[in-house]
């Protein structure tokens, strides 16, 4: 009997913060688990005043 790999043993399990793609073959992080960024009131003001000024921050809410 061939020993099953750790990945095979974990396939199909519900894993917190991960979603299954392509059936049970690959677990990926859930999109909502990615980072979110916030703005202070002052920064929000700046952006509203600046219109479409492009920010270079993390993937945010």
């Amino acid at each position: 009997m061939t020993k099953r790999s750790s990945k095979e043993l974990l396939n199909g399990r519900d894993l917190l913060g991960f979603v299954r793609r392509d059936g049970d073959q690959v677990a990926q992080r859930a999109s909502s688990a990615k980072v979110t960024t916030t703005k202070s009131l002052a920064d929000l003001d700046k952006e509203i005043n600046a219109g479409s000024r492009k920010r270079r921050a993390g993937p945010s809410s």
């Binding site: 790999s5 750790s6 990945k7 043993l9 974990l10 399990r13 519900d14 894993l15 917190l16 913060g17 991960f18 979603v19 690959v26 677990a27 992080r29 859930a30 999109s31 909502s32 688990a33 990615k34 980072v35 979110t36 960024t37 916030t38 703005k39 202070s40 009131l41 002052a42 920064d43 929000l44 952006e47 509203i48 219109g51 479409s52 000024r53 492009k54 920010r55 270079r56 921050a57 993390g58 993937p59 945010s60 809410s61």
Partner: protein, 335 residues
């Protein structure tokens, strides 16, 4: 039964107003899920790895653990799925170290191994670095910077505790590390949360930030932490990640999950503003600014809700959370 206990007993899982007892319940559910998933991952790696981490798994079920435990779990699963046995075993060894991931109370820290534990600073940066631009633009605070900034965070926490104790209690139940970071260059970064480091609240503010602005950022990120908990780290919507929509807090288009997060958080910031205005704790200039903010949040929430109404395909948790936020904002807009 005391009045506060009666109130807590009547709180539903998705009720909008902050509540520490509900947050503790959500946190316990998330930790139970983490304990189950970590046990599964360690067992898949090696039955011995599971037994060696038995104390940690019991601690996870019993009470709060450091965000680094979520981080180690995330990297363990990723190593297993990458067939990287050496990395997976190294993480399993780390998880088995006595005392790993244990926490006592809410701490204010920066991203150094001295604050977070051996090897944790690199892990925090890796998991914060979903967007390479954001990760590359951040650094830990120097000791002098940290001393000054942590004092200002404590002032903001004190304002929350006095003016919005429900929110302060919820934050205390969901967050055990406020992680202060500094930007490099002129990149914008206000703060961040990640389920992969659940319990960590990343925060940056400049020298001009006031106590109410810092408390607003704390309220904002605590709301993300609650949403992550509601969904057990999963999405709030079924819309594909690739589909992008206008977001009320971003000039670039975002996945629907981000739009729902943003809209809920805006409603929470409106709640924060309303509560602080009622508190009589704000000075005149602060009061005017927070009132203006509340009006702005009404407009921003309406923008987000308009996009959501047209396009969102909710999960049950997402639908319930957003409905509670909509009810709050509807009552706020009523004459």
């Amino acid at each position: 039964m005391h009045e506060a206990d009666r109130r807590d007993a009547a709180v539903g899982r998705y009720d909008f107003e902050p509540n520490a007892a509900r947050a503790k319940s959500v946190a316990a559910e998330v930790r139970a899920g983490l304990a189950d998933s970590l046990a599964a991952a360690l067992s898949a790696l090696d039955p011995d790895a599971h037994s060696r981490a038995a104390d940690l798994i019991a601690a996870i079920r019993a009470g709060p653990v450091a965000p680094g435990v979520f981080g180690a779990y995330t990297e363990l699963v990723e190593a297993i799925f990458a067939d990287d046995a050496d990395t997976a075993r190294a993480i399993a060894d780390e998880l088995a170290e006595p005392g790993f991931g244990r926490v006592d109370t809410l701490r204010v820290v920066t991203v150094t191994d001295a604050d977070l534990g051996g090897g944790q600073a690199d892990r925090y940066w890796r998991l914060m670095d979903e967007d390479r631009e954001a990760g590359a633009a951040l650094r830990a605070l120097t000791p002098d910077e940290f001393e000054a900034a942590s004092a200002r965070v404590r002032d903001a926490l004190a304002l929350l505790e006095a003016g919005a104790p429900e929110l302060a209690g919820e934050l205390g139940a969901l967050v055990n590390e406020i992680v202060l970071v500094e930007t490099q260059g002129d990149e914008y970064f206000g703060g961040a949360s990640s389920f992969q480091l659940w319990g960590a609240l990343f925060l940056h503010f400049g020298p001009e930030a006031t106590r109410y602005q810092i408390s607003e950022a704390l309220a904002h990120e605590a709301a993300h932490a609650l949403l992550f908990g509601f969904a057990m780290g999963g999405p709030l919507v079924e819309n594909p990640d690739e589909d992008r929509f206008t977001s009320p807090l971003r000039s670039d288009k975002r996945p629907m999950d981000g739009v729902v997060h943003a809209s809920y958080v805006i409603a929470r910031m409106h709640w924060w503003a309303a509560r602080l205005v009622q508190s009589d704790l704000l000075e005149a200039a602060e009061l005017g600014a927070v009132r203006e903010a509340a009006e702005r949040y009404v407009r921003l929430f309406a923008q987000g809700a308009s996009v959501i109404d047209k396009h969102a395909r909710f999960t049950p948790a997402g639908a319930a959370a957003l409905a509670s936020a909509q009810a709050w904002m509807a009552s706020a807009a009523a004459p």
